[in-house]
Symmetry: C2
Subunit: 364 residues, 2 copies
């Protein structure tokens, strides 16, 4: 079986590493010459919308998937008309546009922060009394890791924030004074079977995920499962999906979802019976899904902009290094390390060490 | 860093899969066109003693290692004179010849079964009264998975067994009425640090390993560690090494060692904090060695000659599939599956299921 992946970054890399033991081969389509997954399969080198390369991918792959959600709609449609594609173009379309996404959440009774579409500075000024302060102005499409976002604290911020957007369609969202940011990762296969991972509790800084920790037995698990199950079924979704949520006063609100494997689930490589990467493959190949049971207590620390020293990580007995083979560059995720321990106290100790190592080389 | 590997079979494949997260790249030298590791790195396609390819390998790899011990001595010497090679040509030389190996064990006070070199039928007849019955006649070199071996039960077996050897130098060994076959896998890095895995208890049938089970807290652990440490230090060994032992009446005797990662250690991928494959890489790169602590109870079942059904394995919650991308062929190891559980009872249940699946497709 050959799996085609649009994108050859670290997510594609980790999908491929999980797929070899299942006997799979991989073809990646990616415009970058030295993408980090290219050693792990064949690399079709060119634009994501290159018709010839897409045709090759569709012809040769038994199933095609993505490592990012900003796949042009016509590309997804072309692939879907020529081969099996998971997740579906519909899931991509919903995830790509923050306005569609939020509206979709509300349609299926998943609460979100207050939001409004804005296409001009006048509209922004008009809706702010309803949205309330503070709020966040975001481009409707293309943003990730906090890019294309501005915090609005008072009326004096509006003009500047609007100018930064440079005329792209936008959405303004009420800022939620959340107690925690969490995410739930779930997988659904074509037969409709669904599995849920234990919640991840996530720590962002500067809009970038820094630490994700598995939370076995979290009191919010059930509510999160209910929401993500709704979403998976409403989208007739196949594959792994990550739903990011805010916890506020014991209630959950959806922030966004990613129709793909997710940074907050990297701890599942060591910390779950079956990793999110393997379960994504199982789902899109319609194999029985693997157990998501936690293996010990675990957490993941991202290395942003600077590479960790392999020997330093290797000297920590319960740490596991994951380099992405990416050159360090400002704000770029270049590696992560997982800690897996028996007790929460041990975990806290190792996470502390890893965070210190990540801060030492941080460049954001 | 680029790691060169002589051989591109399943061991090289699993070394490479463990090496990507450490940021490594791989070059394999292997005569077979469609070897199972070739998707995971560059493939130099040709004979192991092809001077041009060896030169390429030596020039481009930062360190070279092997997935099998029958590397011609001049090949090992050539590589060692041009680049870093681990394990050393000396370790290979000792492991390649059963006579040298047994003698080496005895030199460093590791007990073995009685043995004697035999170069003619007359010599065989002469030594048998000393060796005793039953005994095993083996070629001194090149044997694996029971190939080139004959059981000698009485004097009438000698002529036939000798004829089968076809004149190659041989060794006759007393057959040990062992209580158990076990192996200990250990790693030593260039700095001299050593780690030991929990013992593997191994079950062979038809000379081929079928099941290996991790034995945490086994009463023989200490004695096995003492022997393998002796061996590692006597060879000034760098890398992972597997020492196969017989247990007889509470004592251990060495059968043989493999200067490489070993089939009886495949359970370490899921069942140990750091796998034997990652620790082999850490050792030859002189990184700190990883913890060998067991993660749960685990065991591995080999699939010989026939491929498992992926969906059947995937439907067993605590089983993990490892396909080698090899076409099934009589007596060929094509896959293994690991079971990892909380309790020995759960383990026994899943191993039973996996053995049944392996027997269903067995072709030996």
């Amino acid at each position: 079986m050959i799996v085609g992946i649009l994108g050859a970054g670290q997510l594609a890399r980790m999908i491929a590493l999980a797929g070899y033991p299942l006997g799979l081969k991989f073809i990646f389509l990616d415009p970058s010459k030295d993408s980090c997954a290219t050693g792990l399969g064949e690399h079709l080198h060119g634009a994501y919308d290159d018709p010839k390369l897409l045709q090759q991918l569709a012809q040769r792959a038994d199933v095609v998937t993505y490592e990012f959600e900003n796949v042009p709609a016509d590309v997804a449609a072309f692939l879907a008309s020529h081969t099996q594609v998971h997740p579906s173009p519909k899931a991509l379309a919903v995830a790509q546009d923050r306005l569609t996404e939020k509206t979709f959440f509300n349609t299926i009774d998943i609460p979100t922060p207050l939001y409004a579409p804005v296409d001009s500075l006048e509209e922004l000024e008009y809706v702010m009394p309803t949205i309330g302060w503070p709020a966040i102005l975001k481009s409707r499409t293309q943003g990730y890791d906090g890019k294309g976002q501005s915090m609005l604290k008072s009326a004096t911020d509006l003009a500047g924030a609007w100018k930064l957007l440079d005329g792209v369609p936008a959405i303004v969202e009420a800022f939620v004074p959340f107690d925690r940011e969490i995410s739930i990762i779930a997988a659904r296969n074509a037969a409709g079977a669904v599995v849920f991972y234990p919640l991840s509790e996530n720590l962002h800084r500067g809009g970038i995920l820094r630490v994700a920790q598995s939370r076995v037995g979290d009191p919010m698990q059930q509510q999160a499962e209910t929401y993500v199950l709704c979403l998976l079924e409403a989208l007739d979704y196949v594959g792994v999906l990550a739903l990011e949520l805010f916890e506020v006063n014991g209630h959950l609100m959806a922030n966004e979802f990613a129709p793909r494997v997710h940074n907050s689930g990297h701890w599942t490589i060591e910390g779950a019976e079956t990793s999110q990467f393997e379960n994504h493959l199982r789902a899109i190949l319609n194999l029985p899904l693997g157990s998501t049971a936690a293996v010990g207590k675990s957490a993941m620390v991202n290395f942003i902009g600077g590479l960790p020293d392999s020997a330093e990580i290797a000297s920590i007995a319960q740490a596991h290094l994951h380099l992405y083979d990416k050159a360090p560059r400002k704000s770029r995720k270049v590696a992560h390390a997982t800690a897996r321990t028996e007790t929460p106290e041990q975990l806290a100790g190792i996470v502390g060490q890893l965070v210190a190592l990540a801060n030492k080389v941080d460049n954001t």
